[in-house]
Each structure stands twice: as C-alpha cells, then as structure tokens.
C-alpha cells in the first residue's frame, strides 16, 4: 500500500520536473538570454534587496552596467559553503551530542533533512516567494519558480545564482535550528511535513518582508544577517513547538545529560567557523564592511562565551564547557543583525548581554516548566531579540552609513527595530501554531510512548548510533 503510494508519488514528481526542464520559459537558458535592460533592472533590484544595499553611497548616480567581481564572488561562494557547514555537520553535531544516545541519529537527521528538503524547496519555489518581484510588500511573486530567470548574470557584483544559493543556506539552517525544541519526540514523517510548510509559510514571507523588498525593509528595519529572519523566527517557533508537543517522557524526573559533549564542541566550533560566512558574507562583497562584520562576529562570540561561563561560575560554582559553548552561540546569534553596523567594542557589549540574558533564559525555562529540549528559544529567541534591539541601540553610521542607532542620535531606529521584532514574533507564533495543529490532526506529531522510550533512532530509523 504505502509502497504503491510512494512509487506513484515519486513518478508524479519526476514527470513534473521533466516538464519543468524543457518548458522554454523555465530553462536556465534564460540566464544568458536576459537582455541588457532586464539585467540593469536586476541590478537595481539588487540594490534594493541586498541586505547592505543601503550602504552603497552612490546608487542613483552610477548607471554603469553591473559586472561580476571575482573577489566578491569568491567570498560569497566561500561564505555559502561555510553556512552550509553550519547546518551539516555543525548544527547536526551540536544538537546530536546534546541528546541522549538513543536519539543521536534522529536528531542529526532533522538537520540533515532540513538541508535536503529546503535545498529543493528553495530552488523550486522558496526563492521566488522570498526574493521574487514584490507583491504588495508581503510576498514575492512566482516568476522565479524553478529558478526561471535566475542565472549567471550579475546581481550587484556577484552572479545571481550565487546570491540565490547564499540565501538558500540561510533558509536551511533556520528550519534546522527549530528542531532542537522537539528533539527526542517528534515523528520523522510529521517533521518533513511541518518543515516544508513552515519554510514556505513562515520563513519565505518573513525573508521577503525584511530582505526581499517587503514592508519591514521599507520601514527601514535593520537586520544585517538574520537576527529577525533567522533567529527570532526559529527561536519563537521553537517555543511554540515545545509547548504544543508537550514534555518528553521523564522530563524533570530522569537525568537527561548530553551523551557526547565532544560532539557538541565540534558542532559549536563549526558554527563559529561558519558564522563568518553568515555574517561577513552578508556584506555580499569582500570589502571593508565584510572585514568589520567578521571582527564583530568573532568578538561578540568570545565575549558571550566568557559572560555565560563567568555567570555560571558565579551562580553554580563551576564553569562548564557546555556553558561556554552555549554562550558562544548566543553571542553569535545576538551579533547577527548588528554585525555590519557596529564596531568591535560595541560587539563586546552585545556579546556580554547575550551571554547573561540567555543564561538566565535557560534558567527561567526550568521555572516555567516547558520542555524546549535543547534551549532553542532561550538562545535564539532571546538572543535574537536582544540582538535586534541592540542593533537599534549601537548601530554606528561610521561603520555603515545605512545604520544609525539610539546611541548615535537616532531613537527612531529603536522603534523600528521593536516593530520588526514584534512582527516576527507574531508571524512565528501564529504561523507555527496553525501548521502544528494541522499536521497533528492529519499525521500526528509525536512518536508513540514506546517509540520514545526505545529511542527515535531505532523506532523511526531502524539504526543505532554506536556499536562500541
């Protein structure tokens, strides 16, 4: 039965794709065929959609046709690879090491499949929804479906496809981040459906709002590399997941220590490493701004790791590796929206805030009693919110003329940031809640009690992590 259903499903998909390949309008041939006028339009649009476009000082004045810069392209391709490595193996390890041994594979699988699913979703329709020509400041239209019209032509100073794939890896990791909230209990089949829906109905619109020409972009909200789009959205959605799915069996009674902390450290290290692509790559060029974002990223991560560690040392008597690593991630989260707008000393302050606030958010979880397995909300939700607000405080026009925060004389920016944060929270809560309820009704979200006790590795995947 299932077999027949799957086979025919696959066949259908295949036929569709074959059609897509040969439909004249959808062939990538377009890439080359784009007339100069269209290219210039694309160029102009770049200036509009690229996160740092506002930084370009002479955008109106220079009507020279856009050309590809090999250095900028090298950096953007490198950055895309780095961001991919954040999800797999980075996040897969960070999360996989933190669960119990019996769930290591299922937890890693969530990240791995996020990469696979969204890589296809983004190419087929996600990019079009997020970055396709704007419809009412809400969503992109469908003209880029199957990457029709997205080719090797310049988009700013890089090939359009390079910009597309850089955005793709952001969409991937955002979904993967959420999985830490429901690790050790969500059914794999439900996850696939939830993932596709969430990315399409929450991530894609949000990316459009902030980066793709939507209303938050028009409002002037600053988000250099994804504080709202990636971190608040995933962190808040994670909280919704934790609440809707309920606690793991034994939560609060049984001891559930991380089964493999060295894996967690490899993961944290790869996240830090890849985050340079995430933040410094968001300059979309290999220039001074990229270097500045690079430095802010590193500095904030270090400061936050130390802040978490010392806070824990003061409150619990011992500094821990997991604490330091969690702090580093919190700092990376918080600096994400600010990376291209603040100097190194501000980034230390943002980092310290992240380390302290996120530590107490984890602490509070214990009091509030929901079971966000791997603290996605405390780290990404709270860290992202702090970062988005801090951007409104610390943005320094000497670093980037496009951003001027409260401390540099522009209180309006803080208000804009708060609006952006609020909008993201609302979209994430409402969108995620509806999706979960629908999928729960149709497929069921949670693994059975027996499956959960045995562990999801065996019950969902017929595999064991280790034979040692």
């Amino acid at each position: 039965m299932r077999k027949r259903w799957m086979t025919s499903g696959l066949t259908g998909v295949l036929l569709l794709l074959v059609a897509l390949t040969f439909l004249p309008g959808h062939s990538q041939a377009q890439g080359e065929a784009v007339p100069p006028a269209t290219i210039e339009a694309a160029g102009a649009e770049t200036e509009m959609t690229a996160p740092v476009a506002e930084a370009a000082p002479a955008e109106e004045a220079a009507p020279a046709p856009p050309t590809i810069d090999s250095g900028d392209t090298a950096w953007l391709l490198t950055s895309s690879a780095l961001v991919l490595a954040m999800t797999v193996p980075g996040l897969a390890l960070f999360y996989g090491g933190m669960v119990r041994r019996k769930n290591v594979l299922s937890t890693m699988m969530y990240s791995f499949i996020a990469l696979c699913l969204i890589s296809i979703q983004w190419v087929l329709w996600g990019y079009s929804l997020a970055f396709g020509p704007d419809v009412s400041k809400i969503i992109g239209n469908l003209s880029y479906i199957g990457l029709s019209g997205v080719g090797q032509e310049p988009f700013g100073t890089v090939p359009h496809l390079a910009f597309m794939v850089f955005q793709l890896v952001f969409a991937v990791i955002t979904l993967a981040l959420i999985t830490g909230a429901f690790a050790e209990r969500m059914k794999f089949s439900a996850y696939i459906v939830v993932g596709l829906l969430w990315s399409t109905f929450v991530y894609d619109p949000l990316a459009h709002w902030v980066w793709g020409g939507g209303w938050l972009m028009s409002l002037g909200a600053l988000d250099f590399a994804g504080g709202t789009v990636v971190h608040i959205s995933s962190g808040v959605s994670a909280l919704v997941c934790a609440v809707v799915l309920g606690k793991r069996i034994g939560h609060g009674k049984e001891h559930m220590p991380p089964h493999n902390l060295p894996l967690v450290l490899i993961g944290a290290g790869l996240l830090w490493f890849g985050w340079f692509g995430f933040n410094a790559g968001s300059a979309l060029a290999a220039n001074g701004l990229a270097a500045s974002a690079f430095v802010a990223t590193n500095t904030a991560a270090a400061a936050a790791a130390l802040a978490w560690m010392f806070t824990e040392w003061a409150y619990r008597g011992k500094p821990t590796l997991l604490g330091a690593a969690s702090g580093a991630v919190a700092g990376l989260v918080a600096i994400t929206p600010a990376a291209g707008f603040v100097g190194p000393v501000s980034s230390i302050l943002i980092g310290i805030g992240a380390g302290v606030f996120c530590y107490f958010a984890v602490f509070l979880k214990g009091k509030l009693g929901y079971d966000d397995s791997l603290d996605v909300f405390a780290v990404h939700g709270i860290g992202g919110t702090w970062g988005a607000i801090a951007t409104g405080l610390f943005a320094n026009p000497a670093v980037n003329p496009a951003g001027k925060g409260l401390f540099f004389g522009n209180p309006g920016q803080l208000v804009t940031q708060i609006i952006a944060v609020g909008a993201t929270w609302v979209l994430a809560i409402v969108g995620t809640y509806i999706i979960l309820k629908v999928v729960d009704a149709i497929v069921g979200l949670r693994a059975t009690e027996e499956a959960e006790r045995t562990g999801l590795d065996l019950s969902q995947h017929n595999e064991s992590g280790y034979v040692l």
């Binding site: 034994g250 049984e254 006790r453 045995t454 065996l458 017929n462 595999e463 064991s464």
Partner: protein, 112 residues
C-alpha cells in the same frame, strides 16, 4: 548472607534503587548486560540490508543482603521492576559463604 541478582529493564533502575534504600539496604552494584529471551529484539537496516538484533539492553543489579532482609529485598525488587510486559526480567538468589568490607576488613553482616 544472600546475593540477589536481578535482570531488569533499564528504565526501572531508579525506582528499584529507591525501594531498596527505603528498606534499609545501603549498597548495591549495577552493570549493563544484554538479555536474550522471550522479548523479541529489534530490526536494524544498514544500506538496505536488514538484521535482527536478538539481544535487548538490560540492567543487572547485584545486592548482597542479610538473610533477614532477603525476602523484603526480593519483594521490593519484584514489585518495582514489574511492568507486566514481556522482558521484565528474572531474579536469582545464591548463598554466599563469606563477605568482607575491604576498607575495614569487617566480615559477615557487618560488612554490608
């Protein structure tokens, strides 16, 4: 002096331990074992080949008790380790001829 060995389901360990301490038993030794029995194992698939693993993870508790306490200890273990489903495990009792506490050299009941 009796040695009670019980093979139980891993997630029952905490309950059993508490029940034993409640009746005044102060020590025990625990190890991880694999059990083969009526409870069937599970299937694993690697690159399309399926294998059945017939061994199931179990916990073995070894606890040495005075003759006086033996029955209550057995009772405690059996009642706490029981779920009523296949694979709950077994309990075996042996006589010991000697018991020593290494730290002090005490022997017999005083060694426990």
């Amino acid at each position: 002096m009796k040695k009670i060995e019980a093979i139980i389901k891993p997630f029952k360990l905490d309950e059993v331990k508490e029940a034993l301490t409640e009746i005044g038993i102060q020590g025990m030794t625990v190890s991880e074992v694999k059990g083969f029995g009526r409870q069937k194992g599970h299937t694993e698939t690697y690159r399309g080949s399926e294998y059945t693993i017939e061994f199931v993870p179990k916990i073995k508790i070894e606890v040495v008790v005075t003759n006086a306490l033996a029955d209550r200890a057995i009772q405690a273990i059996v009642s706490k380790a029981k779920t009523g489903t296949i694979g709950d495990g077994k309990l075996f009792v042996t006589d010991l001829t000697q018991t020593i506490r290494i730290r002090t050299g005490e022997s017999g009941d005083a060694a426990l």
